[in-house]
Symmetry: C2
Subunit: 375 residues, 2 copies
């Protein structure tokens, strides 16, 4: 059986391209992972997600443990079979969403207890339980259970939070055990404090993981601050393992992240924006509900080859969006995911060719020329 491994093929400055090998297929990096929260990438059939170029999906432990439950999914043959996606799946640990979505949570050294946002039922996640859930789901890449330190955090609060996450990282690794073909990633915390990022990276490396995430960013600190942290944080993580920036982001966040040595990203933005009519194009963001699209026979982007652009006008997409038709979400989500995957493919090719800086300049120049509506 293929084991989990990472081959770094090319670097261009700090930007990297390579392949993560897994028994369920290869993941070309830099990779963008569409989010399939409740065992579906909203408004998409999985074969169409694949057609956009996605090699891997992200599933949410918090949502799936509450509904339909990890045990139920395991009995039905695992998450891949359940949702009809045979390629790799990365699952988060549930930590981030238990903080942002659930009620009445109580956190201790042991873990977190909370009430479901769906039915109010009481649940607990500990590092050990998170590992168990992710194993029941059949996740290919398991994330450590951690606390995503809120922003802004005073230095002592951030440190206390990071150190607990590092103890949880050890418990996660211990509970994960030895599972050939499956990987567990550690998550660096430390907020915007360089010495804490360093301490966290050292703690994770001492434990040893198949990959490393930069956590605690994209939580309201803004792109400038995020990039400041990314100017040093990824460098602290092993160069021969994948580096994953969690919950990011907008197209220019991805380009800036890759430039700083990130290999993997996930974000709900392209799929959520597809449902709210925010369209990502080479020229920036287009808001389909704007009345100026009402009579426009042009596609969203003349150079795009996605089904929405090949076969439909802006006028049609405006119409079905205003009429609240499901096809609006279907087509615009498809377009956005296609755009994101094309962007990743463009970056991979540029890194391989040693032209990443040129690619990045062109990326920004096209947006500056375009008819951009701020998101």
């Amino acid at each position: 059986m293929t084991q989990f491994s990472f081959d770094l093929h090319n670097t261009d400055g700090k930007a990297r391209t390579g392949i993560i090998h897994t028994p369920r297929g290869d993941i070309r990096t830099p990779a963008f992972m569409p989010v399939g929260t409740a065992a579906t990438v909203k408004a998409m059939l999985p074969e169409n997600v694949r057609a956009t170029g996605a090699d891997i999906l992200l599933g949410n432990t918090y949502h799936l443990m509450l509904r339909p439950s990890a045990e139920r999914i395991a009995n039905l043959g695992g998450l891949h079979k359940f949702m009809n996606w045979e390629r790799p799946i990365l699952t988060d640990s549930g930590g981030f969403q238990v903080m942002s979505l659930s009620d009445l949570r109580k956190m201790s050294e042991q873990g977190v207890t909370f009430k479901s946002h769906i039915d109010g039922s009481l649940h607990e996640i500990t590092p050990e339980r998170s590992m168990e859930i992710q194993r029941l789901l059949g996740s290919d890449i398991v994330m450590c259970f951690d606390e995503c330190t809120p922003h802004p955090a005073p230095e002592d609060v951030a440190q206390k939070s990071m150190r607990m996450s590092m103890r949880w990282a050890q418990r996660s690794r211990d509970a994960f055990g030895d599972r050939p073909g499956h990987a567990i990633f550690g998550i660096q915390q430390g907020s915007v404090f360089k010495d804490q990022r360093e301490e966290s990276a050292e703690a994770l490396k001492a434990i040893g993981f198949e990959g490393y995430a930069v956590g605690g960013l994209a939580v309201g600190e803004g792109q400038e601050t995020m990039f400041q942290v990314l100017d040093y944080a990824p460098d602290m993580l092993p160069a021969d393992k994948p580096r994953y920036l969690m919950g990011v982001g907008k197209p220019d966040d991805l380009v800036g992240g890759v430039k700083r040595g990130i290999d993997m990203f996930d974000c709900v933005l392209p799929s959520r924006s597809g449902r709210t009519g925010q369209i990502f194009t080479r020229h920036g963001v287009l808001n389909i509900k704007n009345a100026r699209h009402k009579d426009d026979p042009r596609p969203l982007d003349e150079s795009c080859t996605c089904p929405a652009c090949r076969s439909y006008s802006r006028a049609y997409l405006h119409h079905v969006f205003k009429a609240q038709e499901i096809i609006a979400s279907m087509l615009m989500t498809w377009h956005n995911l296609h755009y994101y995957q094309e962007l990743m493919a463009g970056m991979r090719d540029a890194i391989a060719a040693g032209t990443f800086d040129h690619f990045k300049s062109q990326f920004h120049a096209q947006r500056a020329q375009g008819d951009i509506e701020p998101l």
Copy 2:
């Protein structure tokens, strides 16, 4: 250019099979037309509607005239291009929905004035305006503007209504003019009164149409009464033209309609039921929200080849339905439309083979054995 024509290939009792030829492609009869109200068959991409076996869609004049407007669609190249469906489209006249959906309508010999249910704006539909709208949309099969007589109606009210519809039929035919490759269908009214159905049929035949609809049924009279009318009403219409039963229906309505000489049907039932979790199968109706499906690894129907049945369990469909995920509507609509088209194909084959009665017995027997939940 291919003209509009109807070739009757086989009859088996009163049941008929044949082909309606149009410049945009053939329509195999008996035919079921999925409804694409607002320029989309809800939750389906048009290529997937085609993949279920549909030869023709129905578009709603009332909805499209209000949003995005017939003139806008015409400027954008017509409804086929607008909605990415190159095959035939039949449009209704707007008459039925103006009665059921709009506010403050006023009917006169001239036509109907009403307020839009979307924005309260004032509109008028007359037979002449209905023909103009359907021409602007680019409809292949245009329906006469008529009044769908409510049920129950006293005999004199039904007669008055039917006679106005017959005057409107003449005005519709006159306004339609001569449009090679396009067809206009007359609509028989007369409620449940045989002599009025006869009078209506004679009036329509005297005007002359490319096809004839049986109107004023499926409006609350129940299947038994509908079949009583269908025992004689279709026979009054020309045998060498297509006969269309408007707004019908459930699977057993279709089988009973074909048995009585109907060639075309349309109904929102399979698509609407797909969104509300009512699944049509050979064994009857399955309600996906029922908790008994929660752990069921079986597909909706083991013998069905649609994507929902090929790749997903009842447990998954139950989950995504409960989680209100769009994919639930996408997959279950696809299944229902696939089932309807398979049913039509089965009837066409049986009629061609002279075994329609056997087919009908089998159809009812399978449902009787099955795990039927009443609709």
